[in-house]
């Protein structure tokens, strides 16, 4: 087994959670790498959708933005942005949406809007973009984020997008019928919501990660499943495909 980074482990674990029949709403960064890794390995027919309007894309390199030309060149079709949000996202056609953000709480609620007070922010973040409706319209949500006390907080400064709300049945009580965050994939572990409380619970540790590390890098008291798995290591093929993808991407984007 070769060496690998925690980011690679996170990407591989996210990729494995995707099925060949999934229709994914892809964001830039880790989700894009995970979705394309899935497509290039076990899920060749997976449908990747970027919110710029490109449906069924198969880029040879990872896009730098959600509207890169290659996404359109390789798409089955490219639709307008109003149509994307109306017919495709709101229409309930997306099985998996990816989210991440500056702050995450234990119920999978996310903040990408401000650090501090909304009207007098310490840091003005980019804002929600597609997230508020991705969070409620996709069949389920995968969250990929690296663990840190700054990012994994007890209380969000601002709720940009809904996860499981205050937990329990709160999400359903708000009239939301989709599953919400069903998986949190970090650089250390895989978390899944407790069936009752909906609080994220560690179900699998990545190689080398300890309970202590996991607990020390979140701003709440981390819960662990009774039976804790060890995340299967990245295979040689997964690593090779992922690294080739990143190498092609780097070559293409520095080529200009």
């Amino acid at each position: 087994m070769t060496n690998f980074t925690s980011t690679e482990m996170m990407t591989v674990a996210a990729a494995r959670a995707l099925k060949n029949s999934d229709v994914c709403f892809v964001g830039i960064g880790a989700p894009s790498a995970a979705c394309n890794l899935a497509r290039l390995t076990h899920a060749p027919d997976i449908t990747l959708i970027y919110e710029s309007g490109t449906i069924g894309t198969a880029p040879d390199v990872l896009p730098l933005s959600i509207g890169d030309g290659e996404l359109c060149d390789t798409a089955v079709t490219t639709v307008s942005v109003p149509e994307m949000f109306r017919y495709w996202l709101q229409g309930g056609r997306i099985t998996v949406g990816f989210l991440g953000g500056a702050q995450l709480d234990k119920f999978g609620n996310i903040n990408t809007t401000v650090v501090g007070d909304y009207d007098n922010p310490k840091v003005r973040l980019p804002g929600g973009g597609g997230a508020p409706e991705i969070a409620v319209s996709c069949g389920e949500i995968f969250i990929t984020m690296k663990q840190s006390l700054r990012g994994f907080v007890d209380k969000l400064d601002f709720i940009t997008s809904l996860g499981h709300g205050t937990g329990g049945t709160d999400r359903a009580d708000k009239g939301v019928t989709t599953k919400g965050p069903s998986r949190l994939i970090t650089d250390l572990a895989i978390w899944e919501p407790d069936p009752e409380t909906k609080e994220f619970t560690v179900t699998s540790l990545h190689q080398g990660a300890t309970r202590e590390q996991v607990a020390e890098t979140v701003g709440w008291k981390a819960k662990f499943a009774a039976e804790l798995s060890e995340t299967p290591l990245p295979t040689a093929e997964e690593l090779e495909v992922l690294r080739d993808l990143h190498a092609r991407t780097k070559a293409a984007h520095s080529g200009n």
Partner: protein
């Protein structure tokens, strides 16, 4: 009927101080040349609408031309935050900036409703999202058949929409291909519109019957500005200049560096520079 004129004339005739203007483009086809011309002409107190404000709104905000920003995602795509916008929101430099913040779905629906002549857009949105608390322009209505609660936002009706497109005919019909974003809706929702294009052709006889075309009578002004979307890209003409987006992160980090860069590359330039900027990015036809 569209006037075919210089970009300088188009901006002078259509954009006034205090106007609400949507410079649209979704990564692709961002109208940089038109934004720069607007700054050169000294427009101020603008309300600017855009789903994805990026470098051009960072520049307009940093130059103090913007009173209010209506948006859903303000970032330097693939790079990071918008530093001039942050400086305005966090430190009121060079002036305070009002913001009206939405989600992408709300913004897209608001343009769609504007194009459709409706006063508001209705969609399934904002459930459990805190923007509802801080934006009074988010309300809710009930479906009269099922009782389901649906979000409502006012339609966008900008004074002026500004976009970049591939081609226009001599009559002023405009063709947009590839990632078309909300540009058609922006133009149809606006009272006036300016479209910069890569080239002007005799006709669109070889174009697909269902391609995105704005008929000449829906467009106010067409100006030929080759390279006019740089460092964004124009599908079929030139690629995105990724290095410029990375460079912007450094330029925008410092007020002095920013001002000096703007003087040299925007205020003392003309639209003709854009053709040169894309020369090394041309797509093989």
């Amino acid at each position: 009927m569209a006037k075919i004129q210089s970009l300088s004339e188009a901006v002078a005739e259509n954009i006034k101080d205090g106007d609400t203007v949507a410079f649209e483009g979704f990564t692709h086809l961002i109208p940089h040349a038109a934004a720069h011309e607007t700054l050169r002409q000294g427009r101020k107190d603008l309300t600017v609408i855009r789903m994805t404000p990026d470098i051009i709104y960072d520049q307009m905000i940093g130059m103090g031309a913007v009173k209010k920003l209506v948006f859903s995602f303000a970032g330097n795509p693939g790079v990071g935050l918008l530093r001039r916008m942050r400086d305005a929101v966090e430190n009121q430099w060079p002036r305070a900036l009002e913001i009206e913040e939405h989600s992408h779905a709300a913004m897209a629906n608001a343009y769609e409703a504007g194009a459709a002549g409706l006063p508001c857009a209705i969609f399934r949105g904002y459930r459990g999202a805190e923007l509802v608390r801080v934006n009074p322009n988010i309300k809710f209505v009930n479906c009269p058949f099922t009782g389901e609660e649906l979000a409502a936002v006012p339609a966008h009706r900008p004074d002026v929409a500004v976009i970049h497109a591939q081609k226009a005919t001599k009559k002023g019909d405009v063709l947009i291909e590839g990632i078309t974003g909300v540009q058609k809706e922006a133009v149809l929702s606006a009272k006036r519109s300016i479209v910069t294009v890569e080239e002007i052709v005799d006709d669109f006889d070889d174009v697909h019957p269902n391609a995105t075309v704005l008929p000449c009578w829906t467009v106010t002004s067409v100006a030929k500005v080759p390279g006019g979307s740089h460092p964004s890209y124009t599908q079929g003409y030139y690629a995105r200049d990724n290095a410029s987006y990375l460079e912007w992160d450094k330029i925008s980090a410092d007020r002095e560096v920013f001002m000096e860069w703007m003087r040299e590359h925007v205020m003392n330039e003309t639209p003709e520079i854009f053709a040169k900027r894309v020369a090394h990015l041309k797509v093989q036809g």
